[in-house]
Amino acid sequence: MAKDCRQGQSLNAYVDGELKTTQAYRLEEHLRACGECRLELESLQKLQGLLRQGLQEHRVPAPLWPGVRARIEQGHPPGLLTSWIRQIWEAGWERPRRSFAHAVLAALFLLSIVYLLWESPAGRPPAETLSVGPGAGEVVVEALEPEPGFRAMVLTTSEQGLKVIWVVTREDL
């Protein structure tokens, strides 16, 4: 490009036909006087010719277009869910180990959620949860250590055998 010439900056637009008539006229006047810009213009026109030639060589063969156009006009773009499932499916075939690891992690996560929901105490009234009776399971006091200044003892109720740890201060005794 004509580095020392301001008009040289408009040469690309001129070659692409993007200049207005007055701008193009002004540039053509300049080209008549500026050899450097004329050389730059020639090289740009050659480059443009090569590009056009290359694009034409790699253009999609004409017989394919009617089919492609018909499919675009008739078909609907795949939905978000469909494309997502397709991506996962294709990834599964491409990277089976990673997909298997993802599936295991997802399954573990879902199992944890199910377990939590299953075990959640929310919503149950207290009256149904507190079981008191001989068949309700044995309570075992494994260890009992009163703090200094306190006394503790284990009482067992006479009917159902409930265990009661009774704690009193030494002053209360």
Binding site: W84, Q87, I88, A91, H102, L105, A106, L108, F109, S112, I113, Y115, L116, E119, S120, P121, P125, P126, A127, T129, L130, S131, V132, G133, A136, G137, E138, V139, V140, V141, E142, A143, L144, E145, P146, E147, G149, F150, A152, L155, T157, S158, E159, Q160, L162, K163, V164, I165, W166, V167, V168, T169
Partner: protein, 139 residues
């Protein structure tokens, strides 16, 4: 999308697994006194009927209900009736039984309970003209 899912799973899985190892507990706080008997809360009916056979208290009131999750890594703590602190730690658990370490003012104990079975009772601390009785059960 797949990477986002993986990140979510990796971030949430440890927390979910830790939560899954925890045991739900329920703590009922009663005040037993020698005041005249009043209407009994249905939640403590069977418990009070049993206590009345052995204790001379005439009035039992349910003042608080706490529910929580205990795990070996995460003790469950609360203040009982605005007074003594209660701390419960899960020592071990299987499908049927749990072993809990219970600490409150004046005592440190370790008890084994059936899940969904009878509670362990801790009583004695004076409260509002009566005594506190704390019933701790595991699910």
């Amino acid at each position: 999308m797949r990477h986002l899912l993986t990140v979510c799973v990796v971030l949430l899985l440890p927390a979910a697994l830790a939560f899954a190892q925890s045991v739900p507990i329920e703590v009922l706080v009663l005040v037993a006194s020698r005041e005249p008997a009043t209407g009994l809360d249905p939640a403590i009916h069977s418990l009070v009927r049993e206590l009345q056979r052995d204790f001379a208290y005439t009035n039992y009131r349910l003042v608080e209900t706490h529910r929580g999750q205990v795990s070996p890594e995460r003790p469950w703590r609360t203040a009982i009736a605005g007074g003594p602190d209660l701390s419960v730690v899960l020592i071990k658990a299987d499908q049927r039984r749990v072993e809990l370490k219970i600490t409150t003012t004046g005592v440190d104990t370790r008890v084994g309970l059936s899940r969904g079975g009878s509670p362990i009772l801790l009583g004695g601390p004076p409260h509002q003209g009566g005594v506190l009785i704390i019933a701790i059960s595991a699910r």
